[in-house]
Amino acid sequence: MTGESGFFCGVDIGASASKLVLIDRSGDAAARVVRHSGVDYAETAELCFAEALETAGATREQVHGVVSTGYGRDNVSFADVRRTEIHCHGVGCYHQIPRAMAIIDIGGQDNKIIHLDARGRRQSFKMNRKCAAGTGAFIEEIALRLGLDVGALDALAQTTADAVKLSSFCTVFAKTEILAHLRQGRPVEGIIRGAFQSVIARVVEMDTLDGEVVLTGGVVAHNPTIRDILSERIGRDVTVPPFPQFTGALGAAVLALRDAAATETKDA
């Protein structure tokens, strides 16, 4: 070990995006990188790592632990340990918000609800069923149907409070429903807001949400309106940590730091 210096790395290879966070020994982020996961997860992980090292002005030798997570966690050749994204999101949230909470993570292709107690111990978790409804993939499909860039949706959704209700559970049927709304001349902004409401409806029906609710993931990072809609739906404020898309990667980096600290204690 190199004494007090050094970095710890968390890599979250998600279905849509790959995120990497480097933290220092005090747990503060030294670099954050996000890239499309693409088709070669191993290469994407390497590219993220190289970019993060450059940003932090660090060398590989200065990184004393790497934990990978996400669907592509097994493809990260430089990882020491692999953990599920469920675990890493819990650790990442608790690192920033050290109290009991219900975490909602809306990712590219899945959703999770994770309950932590006041000590950060996971009490239970649920994942969405094998269906893209209520995930980032749903929003991408809607953008495609409307002929819009997915990055343009949030600004449009913010311009109206009059959402067009989408009733269908199924992404494919929802797209057909949108066709009918467009035929009837309903405004695109309202349809987008309705799509966001649909995402939140699918999520909140997964589990009960007691206490503080924390929202993470790429969908809220790119569409802050989602937080307002969730807040309206549950009738109370919703916490979004800084850099919500990086929560899983941050949790992985914190686990790398903990593992290193445990090893040092053992060796001392």
Partner: protein, 453 residues
């Protein structure tokens, strides 16, 4: 390298990987052609020596069915897996269990190519995938029974008998063959959602069993013989007691067997209960498992977590699941599924009441309150750390997560769970990554709980 199939009858029968109800079916087509198969990644699954004897017994069973079909030496009755097999056997029927074939189609991973054939003639993809894959196998004339035992399909029935204790789909399943073959269809209509089973219910069910006798006499050409029925019942009862002993050995920490072993070794308890050969097999298996315990060997190396599997197996993923859990030093020690072939009332004095009670006492037929109490008993006796609930898309009656049971168990007993979405046979309903992540997350949660306790 694995043995060439020509040298190894087990390999020729596809009996070396994957399994269902006692017969393994991941057909190594290359091996069947005589080619060599590359060496596989080292398995974490510990082999049970007695498996060879079980394979032989199961092969004998299918060969006897074939002989009955080819020579007419015995009438063949199809019986749903928790139907009145003892009564049929007492009339000398060779008893064939269609769910067994359904499981084989699932384990051999050909169900997904057969199901569409059933869908095309009007059987929905949302109903039992045992039914749709079996009907698809019939329509496409494709079955693992052909390369294994030379049967050109499931053996043709002279009689079809069901019990709706599991679901209504079994009745509709057999009704398909009734229309195809113009053979009699009869059965038992069981009440469901039972709490305490009343005398009236038992009497009604016993009467339905008795009412089958004239038809069985007519098709078999034999008179009903109560002494023969008692004899079969006694053997079936002894078999069930031995099977219970096998499963109870998993109470030992560490366990000498896993749920996945159970799904393989339950074969004789399913298809040969009432036949003394099944009893002999379980005595052999018990002796091996007791030896494992005595020598300090376990099914999973360094077992550190113990799980309960609730719901159907995902037949096409048995090996993957077994490897995944073993890789995390977790043993799935018990299941409702394997327990469902323990029929203690078969030892009753009155054989008809015994069958009536045995086949209505099953978990699947019972109320939510009963199920909750039952699972609490399992937690206690097996030392369960967590539950895996399989929500099988096409098997609502065997998916016990759908009415809040996992949440109630977690609240009352503090035992965490995951629900995996999948199916018994239709792997199009199953997401490998989601299931794996959920298994691993539960393992992490339990380890974290242990570390922070």
């Amino acid at each position: 390298m694995r043995k060439n199939a020509r040298d190894d009858p087990a390999a020729r029968l596809g009996l070396d990987a994957g399994a269902a109800f006692g017969v393994s079916w991941t057909f190594q087509l290359d091996a069947a052609k005589g080619d060599t198969v590359p060496e596989e990644k080292k398995s974490l699954i510990k082999k049970i020596r007695s498996t060879g004897a079980m394979k032989k017994l199961m092969a004998d069973y299918f060969n006897e069915l074939k002989e009955a079909q080819d020579t007419g030496s015995a009438k063949i009755a199809w019986c749903t897996s928790v139907g009145p097999a003892e009564l049929l056997r007492s009339f000398g029927f060779q008893v064939y269990f269609p769910e067994n074939h359904g499981a084989l189609l699932g384990a051999s991973r050909i169900a997904a190519e057969l199901i569409p054939a059933a869908n095309a003639i009007g059987y929905s993809p949302d109903i039992c995938s045992y039914l749709t894959s079996d009907v698809g196998a019939y329509l496409r004339k494709k079955t693992p029974l052909t390369p294994a035992f030379g049967l050109d399909g499931a053996p043709k029935a002279d009689l079809l008998v069901y019990n709706t204790n599991q679901c209504r789909d079994v009745q509709d399943w057999l009704a398909f063959y009734q229309r195809e073959w113009k053979v009699p269809l009869a059965g038992i209509d069981s009440p469901r959602n039972l709490g305490e089973i009343t005398k009236n219910q038992v009497e009604s069910l016993a009467s339905q069993h008795k009412a089958l006798i004239p038809l069985l006499e007519e098709v078999s050409g034999r008179r009903f013989d109560i002494d023969r029925l008692r004899e079969v019942m006694e053997s079936s009862y002894r078999c069930t007691q031995l099977w219970k002993t096998v499963l109870k050995l998993a109470e030992h920490k560490p366990s000498p067997l896993t749920f996945f072993d159970g799904t393989i070794h339950m074969g004789p308890a399913v298809v040969l209960r009432g036949d003394p050969r099944a009893e002999a097999y379980y005595k052999l298996l018990i002796s091996e498992l007791e030896e494992r315990i005595a020598e300090g060997h376990s099914a999973v190396e360094d077992e550190s977590l113990r799980f309960y599997w609730e719901g159907m197996p995902v037949w096409g993923k048995l090996r993957d699941h077994a490897e995944t859990f073993a890789g995390h030093k977790a043993c799935v020690v018990a299941s409702t599924y394997c327990n469902s072939w323990i029929f203690e009332p078969l030892g009753s004095k009155d054989p008809f009441e015994g069958m009536a009670l045995a086949y209505s006492e099953l978990f699947i037929v019972r109320s939510e309150e009963y199920k909750e109490e039952y699972l609490a008993r399992m937690v206690e006796s097996y030392g369960i750390d967590g539950f895996i609930y399989h929500d099988a898309k096409t098997c609502p009656n065997n998916s016990n997560n759908r009415y809040g049971l996992p949440e109630r168990i977690q609240e009352t007993l503090g035992v965490p769970h995951v629900v995996i979405n999948g199916d018994l046979n239709d792997l199009r309903m199953y997401s490998e990554e989601q299931a794996r992540t959920q298994f691993e997350a539960l393992v992490e949660q339990l380890h974290e709980r242990g570390e922070l306790r």
